[in-house]
C-alpha cells in the first residue's frame, strides 16, 4: 500500500485552536519582518551567543584557536546530523545512525591496528558495511513496510552488538597516522575534517536545495501517495535516503576515529540526540518548516558554542544541561512564533 501518510512532520499535529494560530493581528509588514527574523534567527542567535560569551570570557572564548578548533571538532557530529536531515526530510527516522557511526569508528580502529588492514581497505569495509546496513533497513521499511523508528531501533542494537563481537568493548587506540593525517591536517588553521564535512554539506545543498531531487524527497516525506502519482519514485527515494544516512553515519565514524585516534563501539552513542536536535533546530531557519542542510549545520555549531560557552563560564554541568534543554525548546518556539503565517 502506498496509502499511509508521512511520519515525520515538523509541526505538531494541530497547534493551538485553529483561530489562535492565525495571527490575525499581524499586518503584512510585521509578517514579512517576522519571516525574515525567523529565516535568519539561527544566525542571529549564533552571533549573539558568540558575542555574549566573548564579553564574559574575552580571554578564553573569543580566541581564534577556540573558534577554529570548534569548527574542526564538531565536523563528525555535523556529518551525522546531515545524514539525519536527509532521512527526516523523506519522512523517516534513523535511530541506528549513532550505532553505525560507532561501529564504523571502532571497526576502522580494530582493522588498522589488530588486523593490519590498510587505511583504504578499512575505510572500504566500513563504508560498504554502512551501505549494507542502510540497504537492509530500507528493505524492512520500504518492502516489508515497518515503521523506520522500530527497524532502526532494532538495527542499532544489532549493529552495536556485531561491532562489539568483532572489535571488543575496549577503546582501541594507536590508529595509523595515515588515517589521522587526513582529518587533522590544518588548512588555514582549521582541521581538514571541517572542510571534508563542508564539501559533503555543499553537495547535499546542491542536491537537496538546488536540484529537483530535494523537492522530490520533500514531497515523498510530506505526501507519499500524491508524490507517487506525480511520477516521483518514492520508494527509490526512501531507500536512497535511508542508505545515504547510513553511509554518512559510517563516514562520520571514520572521521571521528581519524580525529580522535581511538574508538570503541559505543563511542558515538552520545551523538544521536544532538544530531536530531540540530536537524530539528535547523529546520527553523533558512527554509523554515523544512529540514535543510545549512540550518542543520548552523544548529550544530550553535549548540556547540552554547555548550562550550557554558563550560567556559564554569557553570556546573547540570546548569548547562538545564540551559541546553531550555534553549533548544525556546529557540524552536521563538522561531515558530515569529514565523507564524496566516
Amino acid at each position: 500500500m502506498v496509502t499511509t501518510e508521512s511520519t515525520v512532520r515538523l509541526e505538531a499535529t494541530g497547534s493551538g485552536s485553529p483561530d489562535e494560530a492565525k495571527g490575525t493581528g499581524v499586518g503584512v509588514v510585521g509578517r514579512v519582518g517576522g519571516v525574515v527574523l525567523q529565516r535568519y534567527a539561527l544566525l542571529v542567535a549564533l552571533a549573539a551567543l558568540i558575542a555574549v560569551f566573548s564579553i564574559l570570557r574575552p580571554e578564553s572564548f573569543f580566541s581564534t584557536a577556540n573558534l577554529t578548533s570548534t569548527l574542526g571538532i564538531q565536523a563528525s557530529l555535523a556529518l551525522l546530523a546531515l545524514g539525519v536531515t536527509v532521512v527526516l526530510l523523506v519522512g523517516e527516522f534513523d535511530l541506528s545512525a549513532a550505532s553505525v557511526m560507532g561501529m564504523s569508528a571502532s571497526v576502522v580502529a580494530y582493522l588498522t591496528t589488530a588486523r593490519d588492514f590498510s587505511v583504504l581497505a578499512a575505510l572500504g569495509v566500513v563504508l560498504v558495511a554502512g551501505l549494507l546496513i542502510g540497504a537492509v533497513t530500507s528493505f524492512f521499511v520500504v518492502k516489508v513496510g515497518i515503521h523506520s523508528f522500530i527497524v532502526t531501533l532494532g538495527m542499532g542494537t544489532l549493529v552495536t552488538g556485531a561491532a562489539i563481537g568483532l572489535a571488543g568493548t575496549t577503546t582501541i587506540g594507536g590508529v595509523p597516522q595515515g588515517l589521522t593525517d587526513v582529518f587533522r591536517t590544518e588548512i588555514l588553521g582549521i582541521e581538514a575534517a571541517f572542510f571534508i564535512m563542508l564539501v559533503v554539506a555543499l553537495i547535499g545543498w546542491i542536491l537537496l536545495q538546488k536540484m529537483p531531487l530535494g523537492r522530490n524527497i520533500f514531497f515523498t516525506g510530506e505526501a507519499p501517495t500524491a508524490a507517487a502519482l506525480a511520477g516521483i519514485r518514492v520508494n527509490a527515494l526512501r531507500v536512497g535516503s535511508l542508505v545515504t544516512s547510513s553511509v554518512l553515519a559510517s563516514l562520520a565514524g571514520v572521521m571521528l576515529v581519524g580525529q580522535i585516534g581511538a574508538a570503541s563501539p559505543s563511542i558515538a552513542a552520545p551523538y544521536l540526540l544532538p544530531a536530531y536536535a540540530a536537524a530539528f533546530l535547523g529546520a527553523t531557519a533558512f527554509t523554515p518548516g523544512r529540514f535543510n542542510v545549512w540550518g542543520t549545520l548552523f544548529a550544530v555549531y550553535l549548540l556547540a558554542v552554547g555548550t562550550t560557552g557554558f563550560q567556559l563560564l564554569g557553570l556546573s554541568s547540570w546548569v548547562t544541561d538545564v540551559f541546553n534543554g531550555a534553549v533548544l525548546i525556546l529557540a524552536v518556539a521563538f522561531s515558530r512564533i515569529f514565523g507564524r503565517k496566516t
Binding site: 568493548t169 577503546t171 582501541i172 552520545p270 564554569g314
Partner: protein, 363 residues
Amino acid sequence: ADAEEPGGEGGGGDASALVEEMQGLLDEYSGQPEFGEPGPAFDATQLEGRTIALIAIDLRVPALTEVTDSAQDVAEQIGLQTTVFDGQGNPTLVNQGMTQAINSGVDAIISVGLPVQIIADQIAAAAEAGIPVVDVINTPPEAGVPGQGSDPNVYGNVAPDSDLVGRLLGATAVVETDGAANVAIMNTSELTVAPVLVGGMTEILDECEDCEYTETDTALVDWSTELPGQAASVVRSNPDLNFMLPIYDAMTLFASTGVRQAGAVDQVDMASFNGTAAALDLVAEGDIAVANVAQNNDWAAWAAVDQALRGMLGMDPADPVLPVRYVTTDDVQDLDTSSQMAVNEALFGTEYRDGYLALWGLA
C-alpha cells in the same frame, strides 16, 4: 583450579591454610590507611595564582564529581585557580576541553576519568607545551615508568592499585566461603581498569583448589536495565553459586536487587569496590553485600593536585598508588552514610589533608 604460582609461600593446597593466608591479606588492609609521604616535600606557595584545568569524562559519574569538587577545593585552599570542563561522555567535547585548556595556556591539566586513548594526541600536545597532565582514578598505576601506567606522555597518575583491589575481592570470596567459593564475576570489560581488577580476582581464585568462577560482562550503559535480571539468571543457572563479585559498587546495587528477586538472599553474598555510601548501606545490612574495598576520592583529589604541583615545579612524579581500605559488615555498622564525605572521613580520617599541606610547606 591450578595453583601454579601461589602468592607468597610455597602453597600447600590445604584449603584452611589458604583461607588463613587470605584473611591475613584482608586484615592487612582493614585498618585506616596512614598517610605516607608520596614524594619529597616542596614549597607550593611559589605556585600561587597558577591555573589547573580539571577535565572530566562525565560529571554525571559520581566518583568523578567527587574528585573534581575536592580538587577544586584543594586548589582554591592553596591559592590556585581552577577551570572545570565536563565532557558529558562525549569524545568530541572531551577533545575540545583538552584543546581549549592547552590553547588558553593553563599550567596543569588533571584528567578525571578520561579514557587516555581518545586524548592521546592532546596529551602529547600538552607535554610538548610543557603542561603536565595528571591522570586520576582511571588507569592502574605503575610507579617508575613514564606515565606511571597511563599514557607515556602523562606526567603522573593517581589511582588505587587495581590488582590489589582484585586480589582483596578474590580473597573475600575465599574467606567468606571457607575456601569453597563458587563465584560469578560481574565485569564491565570496557572500563580501563577492568582487566587488571578481574585479573587480581582470578589470580586468587585460581590459587584456591575448591573454588570455581564464571564471568559475565555488562556494558556500562546497561547496568540499570540488565544487571538485576543478569544477577537473577546467574544465581538460577548455577544453584551452587555462593558468591558474586561485581567490580563496582554501582553494579552491586542492581545485582543485589536481582539476587533478592531470585530469592537467593541466603545463598549468595557479594563484595565490590569503591566504598560508596549506597553500597556501604547494603554492607551494613549484611544480608547480601558483606564486604567492600573502599577508595577515597577526596584523597585522590589531594594526590592529583599534589602530582600537578610537582609537575608544574618540574619535579619527578610522586608515588601514584592510592590507598584503599577493606571493610566488612561489622566495620560499617555505625557508619554515618548520609554523605560520601562523611563516609570518607570515617574510613580514612582527615590526617592525609594535613599531611599534604605539610608536604607542600603550607602547614
